[in-house]
Symmetry: D2
Subunit: 117 residues, 4 copies
């Protein structure tokens, strides 16, 4: 069985190559693009409360799915230009976070690790 | 062969559950978190030119890999709380983009589809 | 009586000139900088609810004041490089918003103008 | 002579009061709004180089002026809800920056103060 994120990476690379867009995809521009799309996700939750943010019309839900997709696609492009394995990096970071936020100290608290005693 | 992003999703869910953090992970808060981490990626490219943004010290490279990981992890959490399949959404969006940006019209141009004639 | 924002603009221009930093202050870089600092404000409210976001320790309050200041300073630099009068632009935009959001239609609703019937 | 930013603050407060929008303007929501509008500024510079970002059509220039205005207006609302004097905060922060970035060490360099030797 093929790995779904690798398939997606291939399809994305082809999409970019066919349009000759790699020239615009500097790491700097892609970092901006990730942030721009992230803000578009936020726009959907701008005036709602935390609780209300779970309740979405099907249209809103579909729109948000596409904004999330945009962030992921630019993030994968960015990782590609810097030769970063995005899944390995995330696994790595999760291991670091496990150390930074030990269960017995942090359970049920949204405290930043720098504020832990 | 297991799918790497599914494995990561499982590990991430366990990480959150063990810390009882789902209560803080409203879609609204997660959308903010994605944007905050996206800005931390940008910070590494704030003053560089596009060309210079490819050239990174190993330390910078590692730091950026971790910031990219942070965006991915929050993005996966957000997708989870809204029951969105992030890979399917990205595949979907890519199909839409293929239509919006036909190769023969867009090749080599960074024009927005709304500006295409 | 001098105008306080003009004084601030002068002091800011001097600060930049003395450090020979105008070379880094392209509109593109300054736009990124505004967004980076905006995310640093958000970080202070990442996990709080809307109501809780009013209640800040004096230290937090001071930190947020400085992040707000950073956004303003970069925003003023950006406006300067593009020869935009920031106060006039805001007055202008407010007039446009008065038209877009007529009191009788919008009162008490956080609806986007495109969704108004 | 009246101070232009105080006039603007008054006009903005009236605009919000007339629409009964203070209820939506929690510091958290306003911090998100500043970031969302900051991203809209960035969008105008997403694919341009630093040098090219100075050259704008009159239409683009006007659009960017309005996005800058949006950031300023939300920033002023945020400062208001937290009882922060935005100009005083900026003057303060500039004084701190003068200390952090001594001219003789930093002139012509875009180095972060933490990286100064």
């Amino acid at each position: 069985m093929a790995d779904s994120i690798e398939d997606l990476q291939c399809a994305l690379d082809t999409f970019v190559d066919e349009r000759d867009w790699a020239q615009f995809h500097t790491p700097k521009n892609l970092a901006m693009s990730v942030a721009i799309e992230a803000a578009e996700i936020m726009e959907h939750f701008q005036w709602s409360t935390g609780e209300a943010s779970y309740t979405l019309t099907p249209e809103k839900h579909a729109e948000i799915a596409h904004e999330i997709a945009d962030v992921l696609l630019y993030l994968m492009r960015l990782a590609r230009t810097l030769d970063i394995d995005i899944i390995a990096a995330a696994r790595d970071k999760l291991a670091i976070n496990r150390e930074k936020y030990p269960i017995e100290k942090i359970k049920g608290r949204a405290t930043k690790y720098t504020d832990l005693d």
